[in-house]
Amino acid sequence: MALPKRIIKETERLLAEPVPGITAVPHEDNLRYFDVTIHGPAQSPYEGGVFHLELFLPEDYPMTPPKIRFLTKIYHPNIDRLGRICLDVLKSNWSPALQIRTILLSIQILLGAPNPDDPLANDVAQRWKEDEAAAIQTAKEWTRTHAMT
């Protein structure tokens, strides 16, 4: 099936005017599959880290949300061991007016503002609530070991 105009246009724009701290490059053999990197936001435990993600645009995109997963290990209450992300706009609150660019921005913001009250990784969220300083310290350590090469 031919690639919809929308995906071509989004890809062109992502490459021509990239969002600061975010890159998304499509695979040459599958233009619906993107290699994404997100830089940890400043003043967050993930600052200085570069996180790799994979992004796949399903057949009926933009009527269904893109599938996104962290490939780099990250200590975050809304991201689980397998890299799956708990973000409303990736699930029930998806809208076809959203795009790759806005979704990646949302993920970057999620890194800067963890939400332990709506957890995906329960153990992390528990720790985050009980001893936030220690949790942030662990997040920093994980960032140093996994997201800085």
Binding site: P4, K5, R6, K9, P62, M63, S95, P96, A97
Partner: protein, 450 residues
């Protein structure tokens, strides 16, 4: 209009008669505000929601189909305002702006160079574009042909015809162009000599054309002359650069061989440098090993050395150096042996300097002791002198008083005091001067009194 009514409307996008406007190539960048948030193309038949957000009709249709089900209501994809109505009337301005965006004719791959506003592309394709592909009028042929190539008699243009000149099979629709422009057997004129040659022979002709402009064969040595091939021969006979050419060649070959030797030498140099570096590294390694070996030995010897006299040190250090030699001889390497020798010598020197400082300290200690003793003696004598002085004074005092009283009573008793002074002088010979002085002063005072 309610949502279900809107969904029931004929979208008409599947109709083959209409061009797919989203697939068109847009020549210029268009404003983001003219872009449907769902398909990212300029709005195509835009419709509006209650919240004034605009979408293409087809895009909104599929969005409603995907998102209205399973939820209590449909919300605007942009602002999430719950929506029940769709309005088909959008400002004329918006549709005009979208229709004004220039697009390339969809048949550009067939050769159409037209760029028209999007609002006109449908009529261009339908009526004016000669490159639109049409089905072949012949029922038996399933090829397509360009609209402009269609024959008025509705006959199939895909029959093959043999070109009379080049024996190639050409379709009828391409025949005219082939004959006029492409056929390799067509004649053409050389741009330089105006001779008419076959098109396929033109390349060979240009290689040999006497009128073609060619550079002098000495151009690689800097001859700037460029002239027709026919006249080049006369130039080359007189060209000084051509006569000097062989010399240049020889120089060039010499330079090449020089470069080769230089490269060869460089390689050898590199090999030598590598060898040097490896030697140096082994030296450093062995010295480190040796120093480690030494550091395990030195602490015990140091404690002994502090008590040794220099002669003893000399005697001790000689056997020591031999032992160090013994320990290094297993390291068969000559350099390591030299190094160990050097190390042992250095150690001897260190021991000597240690002994010298030790002696120095001892000598200064002895001097200090002697000084202290002398100081003590002096203090003793001082104290003795002081006590003698005190005694003399004590002895002298009564006599002095006596003398004064006698002087106050009678001057003739002065002789008595004088004899008393003489006995006092006998007691302490050191204080006689003082006593005499006092007496003198006493007599002097008596004198003034008198």
């Amino acid at each position: 209009m309610k949502l279900d009514q809107f969904l029931a409307m004929d979208v008409g996008s599947e109709d083959d008669r209409f061009l797919d406007l989203r697939a068109l190539e847009y020549i210029s960048d268009y404003d983001d505000h003219l872009m449907c948030p769902i398909c990212h193309c300029p709005f195509i038949r835009p419709v509006r929601l209650e919240c004034d957000h605009v979408f293409c009709q087809t895009c909104l249709n599929s969005a409603i189909r995907s998102f209205a089900t399973g939820r209590d209501g449909f919300t605007c994809p942009t602002c999430r305002t719950p929506t029940r109505d769709v309005y088909l009337n959008v400002p004329r301005l918006l549709t005009n702006m979208c229709d004004e965006i220039p697009v390339r004719c969809p048949f550009s791959s067939e050769g159409c160079k037209e760029v028209v506003p999007r609002g006109h592309i449908q009529s261009h394709a339908d009526k004016y574009c000669g490159y639109k592909l049409m089905d072949c009028p012949s029922a038996s042929c399933d090829l397509r042909t360009r609209k402009k190539d269609l024959s008025p008699e509705d006959k199939c243009m895909h029959e093959l015809h043999k070109c009379l000149r080049c024996d190639e099979d050409i379709m009828e629709q391409d025949y005219e162009r082939h004959v006029q422009e492409l056929c390799p057997s067509l004649k053409t004129t050389c741009p330089d000599c105006q001779v008419t040659v076959f098109r396929k022979a033109l390349r060979e002709h240009i290689e040999a054309c006497p009128e073609a402009i060619h550079p002098c064969s000495a151009s690689k040595y800097g001859c700037p002359v460029k002239m027709k091939r026919a006249e080049l021969g006369t130039h080359e006979q007189s060209c000084p650069l051509i006569t000097i050419g062989p010399y240049f060649e020889a120089q060039n070959s010499r330079l090449d061989s020089m470069e080769l030797t230089v490269r060869h030498l460089q390689q050898r140099n590199e090999i030598f440098e590598d060898g040097l570096a490896s030697i140096r590294s082994t030296l450093v390694e062995s010295s480190r090993a040796f120093s480690a070996h030494n550091s395990s030995n030195t602490p015990t010897t140091d404690t002994n050395d502090t008590l040794d006299t220099p002669s003893e040190i000399n005697r001790r250090s000689t056997p020591r150096s031999t032992t160090t030699e013994d320990s290094t001889t297993p390291l068969s390497n000559a350099t390591t042996y030299l190094l160990s020798l050097h190390e042992s010598l250095r150690e001897e020197v260190a021991q000597l300097s240690h002994a010298i400082t030790d002696l120095d300290a001892r000598a200064s200690m002895a001097i200090m002791n002697e000084c202290l003793r002398l100081k003590e003696d002096m203090a003793h004598t001082n104290a003795a002198v002081n006590s003698v002085r005190m005694q003399v004074q004590w002895l002298m005092n009564p006599r002095l008083h006596q003398g004064q009283r006698a002087a106050g009573a009678d001057t003739s008793t002065g002789a008595q005091s004088g004899s008393a002074g003489r006995t006092g002088a006998g007691a302490g010979p050191s204080s006689t001067g003082l006593l005499r002085l006092r007496r003198l002063s006493d007599t002097g005072r008596e004198g003034t009194k008198l």
